[in-house]
């Protein structure tokens, strides 16, 4: 791959990442009073004050920030000041991957079972050893070296942070 095509590739990845982040106007509301900022930073200029319960549209996400539209104003609000969606309307899913869980995606093999099964209280209390499945799980395990290579491919850089204290 020459320099030029690498650049092109980087641009394409950038573009697709942008679209991946778009939340297509998902509804939300302020879970507490907070300020709308001009940029997704704590010390960015304040655009306007938002009251608890104020309705908004979530346009995109960047780290801990949502780009939101409130009335005619657009700006950034800290993600944890927002409550997403309208629970009464049912599931909201922005990734389009929900088909996985329908069981109709053609990937979930139906295994013949007897008796109670499943991740509910009864199922867990009745659960019995599945040694073969544990062996299968082991076979998928990753080595330290594999994990480090994988991280490098994703440009993940290990950094040091202290654990957060209990409040």
């Amino acid at each position: 791959m020459n320099k030029h095509s690498r650049w092109l590739m980087a641009l394409m990845v950038c573009a697709s990442m942008q679209s991946g982040m778009a939340l297509a106007g998902e509804a939300g509301a302020m879970s507490k009073a907070d300020e709308m900022k001009a940029e997704p930073f704590r010390d960015a200029k304040s655009v306007k004050a938002l009251a608890v319960g104020e309705k908004l549209d979530i346009l995109s996400k960047q780290g801990g920030w949502f780009k939101v539209k409130v009335g005619k104003a657009t700006g950034w609000v800290h993600m944890l000041s927002v409550r997403k969606g309208d629970a009464k309307k049912g599931a909201v899913n922005s990734s389009g991957l929900l088909a996985l869980s329908s069981g109709r995606a053609g990937t979930g093999k139906v295994v013949a079972t007897t008796g109670v099964r499943g991740l509910n209280e009864e199922g867990l209390k009745a659960a019995t050893f599945n040694e073969a499945e544990l062996k299968r799980a082991e076979a998928n395990a990753s080595s330290k070296a594999d994990a480090a290579t994988f991280a490098k491919q994703g440009k993940l850089v290990a950094r040091s942070f202290d654990y957060l204290p209990a409040k």
Binding site: V13, M17, G20, M21, S31, R42, K61, G63, G64, H78, M79, L80, R83, K84, D86, A87, K89, G90, A91, V92, S95, L97, L98, L100, S101, S102, T107, G108, K109, R117, G118, L119, N120, E121, G123, L124, K125, A127, T128, N130, E133, L134, A137, N140, A141, S142, K144, D146, A151, G154, K155, L156, V157, A158, R159, F161, D162, Y163, L164, A166
Partner: protein
């Protein structure tokens, strides 16, 4: 703790040897020595190989309730994310294993010794790798802090935990008392851990994700997504029953994250890699 107890038993047993002269003092000292032994028994912890064996049994039971999703590429992908996270912790050398359970329920589980599972139902509601990392890191934290072992020690089978710690039960070889412990360990999933353990795993999970280079807001993003699902959805019933309210978990993180993790701003969420890995099949 172990050193302290050793010292205590030394203090008690020494006078027995040195002043073994008369009747009653001797008896009292023997009694005291027995009390010390008992205390020692109740406080002894199982060692790491025992923890791994016990956790393997619990994990095997969990897989009896829900098998692995038959999608090896995704299973390997989740293992790489998980192992990379585990490498940023104080227990990098456990035999960490991660798995996606073939179940529509929305939940995640950890077992002692380094076993971590998430359901397909939860994976399907995630939109990037940082979210996956956040959830795995929360579960990893339960293993790091041995929350399940503590719950077992406090529960109805605490006696058996002591027996295991004192080698009265062998962790391999099919002792029926061991399967009782394993069942008790599995039942914790139906009952849930201490609320404080869940909050601690949230606080640690976001930090482990940040250490691994991810946007640490993945875990709160997942909690927020779950908040937007109809709470009457039966797929969330067990998770809701066994965890503190999502709103409480989110406001706890809100109070802590913005200050301490400000330096992690701009770390990637790898939405692209996540989407391509999950759509590959």
């Amino acid at each position: 703790m172990r050193a302290q107890l050793f010292f205590a038993s030394l203090l008690v047993s020494l006078p027995v040897a040195a002043f073994d002269l008369g009747g009653f003092g001797n008896i009292d000292l023997e009694k005291a020595a027995k009390v010390v032994q008992k205390v020692q028994k109740a406080n002894a912890d199982i060692n790491e190989p025992q923890e791994i064996d016990l956790g393997g049994g619990i994990a095997s039971n969990l897989l009896g309730a829900a098998p692995l999703w038959d999608n090896p590429p995704v299973q390997r992908y989740v293992n790489k994310v998980g192992r990379w996270l585990a490498l940023q912790t104080e227990r990098p050398d456990l035999p960490w294993q991660f798995g996606v359970l073939d179940d529509d329920d929305v939940n995640a589980f950890a077992a002692p010794g380094g076993y971590v599972f998430i359901t397909k139902g939860l994976l399907a509601r995630m939109s990037n790798e940082a979210e996956l990392a956040g959830v795995l890191a929360h579960e990893i934290s339960h293993v790091l802090r041995k929350h399940h072992l503590q719950a077992l020690k406090k529960g109805a089978r605490s006696e058996l935990m002591s027996d295991l710690a004192n080698d009265a039960i062998k962790s391999q070889g099919g002792d029926p008392r061991l399967s009782k412990l394993v069942s008790a360990g599995t039942e914790i999933y139906a009952r849930g851990l201490d609320k404080q353990d869940e909050y601690e795993a949230d606080r640690m999970g976001v930090v482990i994700a940040a250490r691994a280079g991810y946007d640490p807001y993945g875990l709160p993003a997942v909690l927020q997504t779950l908040q937007s699902i109809n709470p009457n959805d039966s797929n969330l019933a067990l998770m809701f029953k066994t965890h503190p309210a999502l709103g409480d978990r989110l406001s706890l993180l809100d109070g802590l994250m913005s200050e301490s993790l400000a330096d992690s701003e701009g770390q990637p969420d790898l939405a692209e890699r996540f989407a391509s890995q999950l759509k590959a099949k």
